[in-house]
């Protein structure tokens, strides 16, 4: 029986090529998109899954309570780790590492490279799953100047050399380090990323402030003993810092590795349950919507052309087929079609994966060998087939054999209403996606064009390497002499950086007990002009302020907090400290850290160049960028020859802050386009069948004098009404959904009415173009022919 069904299905596909391609390519695109999204989702939900102790691993986080909000971060005091390991019985092990990634210069022979990594305690090899390819965990950090690298770094440093253990590499042109281990490359979906690891002791000894309980500058990872409830440990950690720093406002807690990637969103010191998971959920929903839109095409075309199948249904029923066997046959046909679509979908995925990977910045692979992938593909295919075949099978199998064999015109009204409903559903989803795409794009543009308070264009940043700090003045002079650079400045932190802040600053008149988070930045006097900050009152910092260091320039928001009138001459100091800082100048507020939020106040101090970390150069906008960079490179080669020229544009760094939003924006554009394309494929097929069904009517109308335009309009009208109804449903849905989304941003656009009109019109125009092809074709046909054929 199944063989018979497959035969019928295959021959029917061959016979109706146009119809078959509509029916196969729609679901193929749907299955392909769903597969791509699910590959991405798989990568996201399996973040850090390479760690066998994942369920027992935590990072220590801090909540700091301020007047207006709770600041949650992962910076912890240096002495914390060893002490809690000794004192809290639930903790099996801890590991301290430097924060973020440290970029260092590595030289081997005459070749040198920058590479980023971490200083870590040797327990890192036990907490995290880091398999050694060469060397082993126990001896990795037995010497102080040892380095463990990944396979990729090994290739970068040593090329094709093998047996790397014991080989040396010079770091920062100062000290040779011995390679003590080579690790297997980390999976791309691991939160822990580094090119190298070095003993933590080096870092800890270099920075004496790390030994204080008041300095939060390290990451502390914790492994709990099996069966220990993290809440028990959290209770012990809550006031742990206060044992050593009674006035501290920090409260510690454990943040599970299971939540690092997807649930890293905190409000008022508590997990919101949101984070990247929202994107995972959003895209999963979109995948199902697109798949459903594709299935709708199949349902609609199948019921629209049911007249063609009616006789077959009649004959089969007369010959003894029951309703059940017919339902099985038609669902089977849909699944068969879906299987063909799945094969094409795999081809589409193979072709599209490289571009998709670029877009989502991942290295996803199709993974045929992975049984889960095949299982999910099969499930998608069966789902698609079952949904697509469900309604048509019920509809077709319900035909009365007597009527269909007599050749009576079928009463199509019930199916026609369902069809119209499904078209409305398709276009509603498409229009919601179009509106969302426009609003996401507007929001990103809105933030990107936000008045930042600085001028980010034409600014190049460089890490301060070697003796750049000490030789700042001659380097600056050489750079200015090229004519390619307008100004040069040094700073201790990048301008976009959001950290290095504290709540300990106080001033006369400050409300007692009030906690205000203030960021500290040390900069050279050129900083304001180079970055485009405006001195609103008083004066800029001078080199002389470096010596006294008692003068500060503050941002406008701090001036407001310090009371009415000018802040010039007012004095600030740290609580419990007698040193004072006199305000000599006020600059405008500028956005840093969180691009969507209101910026915290900043205090600027004068920086001694030797302590600088970052150098900023404002390029001469009269010169070309290429020329300016070549000029800078020449100067750096001459003045800092031991280090390769490595730079970054400030506006690129700025764009990096919007990665997630840009991803949503790009993907929603792709999804919205595909949704409307698939919907139109369905509409195209439906229009063709409607035209065919109404051939006789069109013929009679033409004989009676109807014009081509009149007939084409008649055929298009019904479909256009459906798209208009879709718009009416889509508008409030999109408004509600996008208002919720925008509310998650402090700095956001207001939704404008024209977006809805534009989206609705786009859908109408696209639909009209799709239908009019069929409508005009039908209207142009010779009426004599169509009447004779009846």
């Amino acid at each position: 029986m199944i063989k018979n069904f497959i035969k019928t299905a295959l021959r029917s596909l061959q016979k109706n090529k146009a119809y078959s391609s509509l029916n196969i390519f729609g679901p193929a695109i749907g299955i392909a998109i769903a597969s791509l999204i699910f590959l991405w989702v798989e990568d996201e939900v399996n973040y850090d899954a390479n760690n066998v102790k994942k369920d027992r691993l935590y990072i220590v986080r801090e909540n700091q309570k301020y007047d207006t909000y709770v600041f949650t971060h992962s910076s912890t005091p240096g002495p914390l780790g060893p002490e809690i390991k000794d004192q809290l019985p639930g903790i099996a092990n801890i590991c301290r590492t430097s924060e973020g990634e440290t970029s260092l210069l590595f030289a081997r022979g005459d070749r040198s490279f920058f590479a980023s990594g971490k200083y870590a305690e040797s327990s890192i090899f036990s907490l995290f799953t880091l398999p050694f390819v060469q060397g082993n965990a126990s001896s990795a950090f037995s010497q102080l100047h040892s380095i463990v690298i990944t396979e990729k770094t090994a290739e970068k440093f040593f090329g094709t050399e093998t047996n790397l253990i014991g080989k040396t590499i010079r770091v920062d042109n100062k000290q040779d380090y011995v390679v003590s281990g080579v690790l297997k490359d980390l999976p791309t979906n691991s939160s822990l990323q580094f090119e190298w690891l070095m003993p933590f002791k080096i870092y800890f000894d270099q920075n004496s402030y790390l030994k204080q309980w008041g300095a939060n500058s390290l990451s502390t990872y914790v492994e709990l003993k099996p069966g220990i409830n993290p809440e028990t440990v959290n209770k012990q950690l809550y006031s742990y810092v206060q044992k050593h720093e009674p006035k501290a406002i920090s409260h510690l807690f454990l943040f599970s590795m299971n939540d690092w990637r997807l649930y890293d969103s905190f409000k008022d010191g508590k997990k919101t349950g949101g984070g990247r998971i929202e994107y995972v959920n959003l895209f999963t929903i979109i995948a199902w919507i697109i798949l459903f839109i594709a299935c709708i095409n199949f349902m609609n075309l199948a019921t629209a052309r049911s007249e063609k199948r009616a006789r077959e249904v009649g004959v089969r029923k007369v010959l003894g087929a029951g309703k059940g066997s017919l339902i099985t046959q038609f669902i089977g046909e849909a699944i068969f079609m879906s299987l063909i679509a799945a094969v094409i979908a795999v081809l589409i995925v193979l072709i599209a994966l490289p571009s998709f990977n670029t877009m989502v910045q991942k290295q996803l692979v199709i993974g045929f060998a992975n049984p889960y992938h095949l299982l999910i593909l099969l499930a998608l295919t069966l789902f698609c087939g079952a949904i697509a075949g469900s309604y048509p099978s019920l509809y077709l199998s319900s035909f009365n054999p007597v009527s269909v064999l007599k050749g009576l015109k079928l009463k199509d009204s019930g199916a026609a209403i369902v069809r119209k409903g499904l078209v409305v559903l398709q276009f509603t989803a498409s229009i919601v996606l179009i509106i969302s795409t426009i609003i996401v794009y507007q929001q990103i543009q809105h933030v990107k064009s936000r008045q930042l308070g600085i001028n980010k264009d034409n600014v190049v940043g460089m890490d301060v390497q070697g003796t750049m700090g000490e030789n700042f003045n001659p380097i600056k002079q050489d750079l200015l002499n090229t004519g390619d650079v307008e100004n040069v400045a040094l700073a201790d932190h990048g301008i976009i950086y959001g950290g290095n802040n504290g709540d300990g600053m106080t001033w006369p008149g400050k409300t007692p007990g009030s906690k205000v988070l203030v960021s500290n930045r040390a900069v050279t006097p050129e900083f304001m002009a180079t970055l485009g900050l405006k001195i609103l009152e008083g004066r800029n910092l001078t080199v002389a302020d470096t010596v006294r260091s008692a003068h500060t320039v503050i941002t406008q928001s701090l001036e407001k907090l310090m009371g009415n009138g000018s802040a010039i001459g007012k004095v600030l100091r740290y609580e419990g400290d007698t040193s004072t800082y006199t305000v000599v100048g006020v600059v405008n507020d500028y956005v840093y850290g969180n691009m969507y939020g209101k910026p915290d106040p900043v205090m600027f101090f004068s920086l001694a160049p030797k302590y600088a970390q970052v150098m900023y150069m404002r390029l001469n906008n009269q010169k070309g960028v290429e020329q300016a960079l070549a000029g800078i490179q020449k100067v750096m080669k001459k003045d800092n020859p031991a280090y390769p020229f490595d730079y970054v544009f400030l506006d690129d760094q700025f764009n990096q802050m919007f990665q997630s939003e840009m991803l949503v924006s790009k993907l929603s554009r792709v999804f919205a386009s595909l949704a409307i394309i698939i919907s139109c494929m369905g509409l195209f097929g439906l229009a063709a069948y409607t035209a065919e069904r109404r051939t006789k009517e069109i013929g009679i109308r033409k004989v009676l004098g109807a014009s081509v335009a009149g007939v084409a309009g008649l055929l298009s009208k019904d479909f256009l009404i459906l798209v208009i109804i879709s718009s009416a449903i889509a508008f409030p849905v999109a408004y509600w959904k996008m208002s919720l989304w925008l509310k998650t941003y402090q700095y956001h656009i207001d939704i404008q009415w024209w977006v809805f009109i534009a989206a609705g019109l786009t859908a109408i125009i696209i639909a009209l173009v799709t239908i009019s092809f069929q409508a005009v074709k039908a209207a142009l046909a010779n009426p004599v022919k169509s009447l004779r054929s009846e």
């Binding site: 035969k7 029923k317 003894g320």
Partner: protein
């Protein structure tokens, strides 16, 4: 074999009610060849559909092989139908996507005959109907007469007790029509009961008995000699 008593069938639309069969009573014995005649709209096809269990009557009794089937469920009717009745239509009603062989095989599939047995029986029938050489052709590649032979092959392949033919020669020229009538006569002589609806007096002459209907009632019965 068939006994209907006081059979009634109405067709209702929103405005009118049409009586298709009006207290009709007929009996057909096993091995008979009966022709049903009458003008358009007299209820011939309705009667045939009820006899074929494709439709059910509104009132009255229908006893098939001693079993009252008038109010059987669709499933039961389908089951009874596929084992006992073969149909021949005016417009052949072959499935375009299936070959001659596959079309004839279809009823055997629905009655669950094993594959090897199916091949044997289909070949036997095709051979008998002299259409074996066309077994791999599709219906559109055949002449009208050949298509009706395939349709008759399909009707008899399950060895039904009863064949219902609805104007079997209506779409054929006279020579092909005669051939079809010969085939039906042969089948009848081999023991199959045949009930045929026709407009053609010529075809009706092949039967043993003609039942003439008017407005859903029997007006005359002619016994053929």
């Amino acid at each position: 074999m068939i006994k209907i008593t006081d059979l009634e069938k109405f067709y209702r639309t929103e405005e009118v009610e049409t009586i298709a069969l009006n207290k009709l009573s007929i009996e057909v014995k096993k091995g008979e060849f009966v022709a049903i005649m009458g003008p358009s709209g007299c209820g011939k096809s309705t009667l045939l559909n009820i006899l074929g269990m494709l439709d059910d009557p509104d009132e009255g009794s229908y006893v098939f092989n001693g079993v009252e089937v008038a109010h059987f469920t669709e499933r039961k009717r389908a089951d009874l139908r596929k084992h006992n009745i073969g149909f021949v239509f005016q417009s052949f009603n072959l499935i375009d996507e299936l070959t001659v062989f596959e079309n004839v095989e279809l009823p055997l599939i629905y009655t669950g005959v094993p594959s090897a047995e199916r091949v044997k029986r289909v070949e036997e029938v095709l051979d008998k109907m002299q259409i074996m050489h066309r077994r791999n052709h599709y219906p559109q590649q055949l002449s009208g007469g050949q298509q009706q032979r395939v349709a008759i092959s399909r009707a008899v392949v399950n060895k039904p007790k009863l064949i219902l033919a609805d104007e079997p020669t209506g779409n054929l020229d006279s020579s092909n029509g005669n051939e079809v009538m010969e085939l039906l006569t042969d089948l009848n002589e081999q023991g199959t009961t045949i009930i045929m609806v026709t407009h053609s007096e010529h075809d009706a002459r092949y039967s043993h008995r003609i039942i003439r209907l008017l407005d859903g009632q029997t007006v005359v019965e002619n016994i053929m000699i």
